[in-house]
Symmetry: C2
DNA sequence: CGGGTCGTTGAGTGGGGTCAACACGGGTGG
DNA sequence: CCACCCGTGTTGACCCCACTCAACGACCCG
């Protein structure tokens, strides 16, 4: 499983820039401690000291915060290949938690040697790019929560997930099954699970998706994306050239130039 | 003005960790191109190519996104000493804008030599810490927008600003004047300016603040913070030990250990 | 003095929250 | 095998927070 894990990570990084064989080996040698997490269990909690860096291997995870009244706000949904902690260099205790939404595995990367990898320009670039997308997503979520109605929030969240899954080769075709419970979506877009259920029915009646116990089946990915209206430019660079929709996508070449290497 | 600007930046960084004289000189030599920005003008716009890194010298600025329907979501409010771009290493076009909320100045740091500074462990640590707080703030905003009612959102936003201003020596005492228009607050917490006005009146009747044309005067900072209920632990490390409220603050010493230096 | 930005207030509306009750399925233990 | 329970999904009734539209007032500027 360790080698699979290592492959996943390098595979992900390679989509963001060319890596040498030595680069890949350097990354792969760091992947350790695979672990299984059942749904609704935590990888780490708000207040925990930061230790190794956790990498999602399979399943769906999320970053979230719990409030005094027990309600939960999900900050980001993590897919296979994503890093649980957006900040590779912080050493402060976590101010958020990461938990599994659906059963899945993680691996751990110890941080000091990880920091060493930033000596390698190609890897520094790739890791910085993952960071870039992490930021861009959280900005989108902020806009979503602040300025849009429930249906748009939901449609955009689901659409984001389809783009990300597709970008990393985790889905193909016009149908995607998300192993998410309705409460997870509700806590992501800041509405109650009751209201989320109704909004989901709405989309269902439009033929975009189907609900099953414990999963959401998007039966018309293209239609869903169309319901968003605009092309997700904040994901430019993540989405490959193979999927033009409305605006033209930045050519793959440009991607390489997106992030400066650390000048070392 | 350039030397003032340089001092501001090093002063800010020094609050996050000890710097050598050489460190400070290295930073100061990069500060260039001071510029004045009138209120409601942009420093850069969504879609612009990333060039130099802008540093706020004075005034209030904000990161924001404009939506198709013309509405605006503010992503962060930037105070003197803050960097306009959270991501020092990205080279992608901006996916958000930065504008002045109140008349103020910026300076520019050219990126390649800035990246060189990461060779210096103390500076790498300090810059990473600023990043850490930037992240922590955006997570708080996400929670705010997703899970809280208008009054709490507003109280927490204002309270955040008081803590940050105080932490960086930009305010003292129990009274703070914010050079913000009501629409700015409304666009920050995701409500209409009409509703914000009413909520403001509410707080005003509780004796916490006063409104003037173009500014909000917080007349009872302590009372405002009390209205939040909890201590802003997400700012631990930023807020000095001098201001204990409810929970004990992490001792200054620990701060040094918050961020790993780049292993170089 | 006039126009523009900013603030304030009112009236009416509706989106989304709250509180219930219930249905369903899958697990657990007897 | 059934009884039970708990997590999940669904629906209805009710209500209120916040949005919308609108008009007006205050202040600042030219």
């Amino acid at each position: 499983m360790l080698t699979e894990a290592a492959r996943l990570l390098t595979g992900r990084l390679e989509r963001l820039g060319t890596l040498s064989v030595a680069d890949k080996q350097a990354v792969q040698s760091l992947v350790q401690h695979p672990a299984v997490h059942e749904a609704r269990t935590d990888v780490f909690c708000d207040g925990d000291q930061r230790r190794e860096l956790h990498l999602v291997l399979s399943g769906f995870f999320c970053r979230y915060k719990l409030l005094a009244d027990g309600s939960r706000q999900i900050l980001a949904i993590l897919l296979p290949g994503d890093l649980c902690d957006p900040n590779l260099f912080s050493n402060a205790p976590y101010d958020f938690s990461v938990g599994a939404l659906a059963r899945g595995c993680t691996a751990a990367l110890s941080r000091p040697p990880l920091h060493e990898l930033f000596r390698r320009p190609a890897l520094a670039r790739a890791f910085s790019l993952t960071r870039h997308f992490d930021d861009a997503l959280s900005r989108e979520w902020l806009v979503n929560l602040g300025r849009r109605g429930t249906e748009q929030r939901l449609v955009r969240l689901l659409s984001e997930l389809t783009w990300r899954l597709e970008a990393f080769g985790l889905s193909t075709g016009n149908k995607i099954t998300l192993p998410l419970v309705q409460a997870d979506l509700a806590d992501s877009i800041g509405v109650t699970h009751v209201h989320l259920c109704r909004t989901l029915k709405q989309l269902q009646s439009e033929g975009l998706l189907r609900t099953e116990r414990g999963r959401i089946v998007i039966s018309d990915v293209a239609g869903l994306r169309k319901a968003v209206g605009v092309w997700p430019s904040y994901l430019a660079g993540l989405i490959s050239v193979a999927t033009p929709l409305q605006e033209p996508v930045a050519p793959r070449r440009q991607l390489e130039a997106f992030v400066e290497p650390l000048a070392i």
